[in-house]
Amino acid sequence: MIQHLPALIIALPLLTAFLMPLIGRISPTFRKLFAFIMIFLVAIIGILLVHEVHSKGIILYTFGAPQPGETTPSSLKIPVRIIFEIDGLGAFMVIVSIILAFTAMFYALPYFKEERGLDRFYALLFLLLAGILGMELTGDMFNFFVFLEIASISASALIAFCIDRSETLEAGIKYLAISSIGALFFLLSVGLLYGEYDALNMAMLAKSISNTFIDKMALILILGALLMKAGIAPMHMWLPDAYAEASPPVTLCVIAATQASMYGLLRMIFTIFHPSIDIAFLPALIIALSLITIGIGATMTLIQNRLTRAIAFAGVAEMGYILLGVGTAMYAGIKGYGEVALEGAIFHVLNDAIDMGLLFLVAGSVYLATRELDMNNLGGLARRMRFTAITFLIALLASSGMPPMNGFASKLLIYESTYALNPILSIIAILASILMLAIFVRIFYSVFLGPELPNLRDARDPPVLMLIPMLILSILIIFLGIFPSYAIDKLVDPAVRSLIDAKGYVSAVIGGG
């Protein structure tokens, strides 16, 4: 059974999604139980898969072949079937998505009580999970497009799920329009590459790509599509809407989808295009975009009144930090400080996911207790909601990169490497981070401290079942903050090494060196 893990981790969420409408007819309690058991199973499969990758190296799974490892049919010398190829980076991203999806599901079970159409909600959530995991595991360009579309369709349906509020509809259609245009650009470049090289397999493409005009065009189109999907300025405007308007469990899964797009960016740049394509202005462009994103994220956080929107703009800035690391690594090549930058960027993917996830869960708890997200109408909640206040404090320190928390570790790596490239860049990044800290402290003050408002006297911490996911994420933040080297050794380093070793990725599929 162990060799079928890559297929099962996609098949199980799909099966659950399709079973949901039938299960929901039996009873709502059974539906919840079923959803919980299934997400637990998916998490176990994911952990087993990551363990396999770390102990045995790259795992290949060829769909429909007589043997999972038989990538090229004996009569042909090229891979024609859909192949899943899981290396260190893929395993790392599986961990990130599973943490987010697991906590989201945990939080969703008590969060939604009597809303209609909940079986569809769970079905879409599992479909989104299948799409995200598929994006991270696949070794086939067209398959990546398909999973990208599955993820964006189900994510936008989930964002627009609460149709009573008109803002969710707006956020949903914005997300869908942006991501389908992005996906079409991606498809166009898949077509360009297919026309040129007769290959859809990522390893095959990585081997054959040279520095032609069409390749450059394809790279630019792919980058445009994935940067759009990752919420990088100037196409960041969908992200705060989607994050802020969706319900917190959905937001967590959309964060996972955004990080999966960031993964796609890393995979496309470093594994497929990087060694052979030479566009002089590209690294500088990426760095410039990342700085603009950080700037917009930090300054827009300043002027928000709505709690979730403020957090969402902070999320935009965090994506900028990741891209800054990527851009530095592109500029320097993956060696020396470029490697440090890449390490920082990949570690920050995990940290950003956890920090943002926790912040949105806290915002969800505040909303559940007070039915209010406008920060002018909130105040003095710390007395009534002790646990929520403490977790928010942890999350805000982490996401603004303060020393005892995990955000510090990854941001330090990014500052260090950008300082080696150009001190001004790291100064801008540090200043933005300090600005974020100031903003978050102000938010913390206005929501949790200050005089107690009379209409919020009956605010309480959420039920225990919802505290558990918040507790899990807080413990992760502190653990990764105190022992960052543990995570770097166990998770981040294999991911960085698999990106450095692009040849290994190719030869695992095609054979040879």
């Binding site: 627009a160 259609i173 869908l176 079409l184 166009l188 077509g191 928000q304």
Partner: protein
């Protein structure tokens, strides 16, 4: 020249689609723009598989004297196009559904008036 005609059509479709999505104010027209863009990409994929004088790749039903790999059209781009059409249907249905709900809430489809989420 004549064999490049589909590519010109592709470029035109993509430009028209992008123009409609960026500059039009009506939500339905934006959705139409995305659909046109998608048709452009689909046309591009299907053109990649074209071979002059080739027949459909149905192995058991070939006309007499067909050379097997050379004079069959290429099936992979067709499969890709089909998948992309299926996805396009799903996207279109979801977008129209959301547009209908938006019309119910706001009583308008003008995107300049729907913007409650700003800044």
């Amino acid at each position: 020249m004549i064999q490049n005609l589909p590519y010109i059509a592709v470029a035109l479709l993509i430009i028209i689609g992008l123009y409609a999505t960026i500059f039009k104010k009506n939500l339905i027209k934006i959705i139409m723009g995305i659909t046109i863009l998608e048709s452009g990409v689909n046309l591009f994929l299907i053109t990649l598989g074209y071979r002059k004088g080739a027949v459909a790749p149905i192995y058991t039903n070939l006309p007499e004297g067909t050379k097997v790999p050379q004079s069959l059209t290429f099936p992979v781009p067709q499969a890709l196009t089909l998948t992309s059409i299926v996805i396009g249907v799903a996207v279109l249905a979801l977008m129209l559904a959301i547009a209908v709900q938006i019309y119910r809430k706001y009583r308008t489809l003008d995107v300049t008036k729907i913007r409650r989420l700003r800044g």
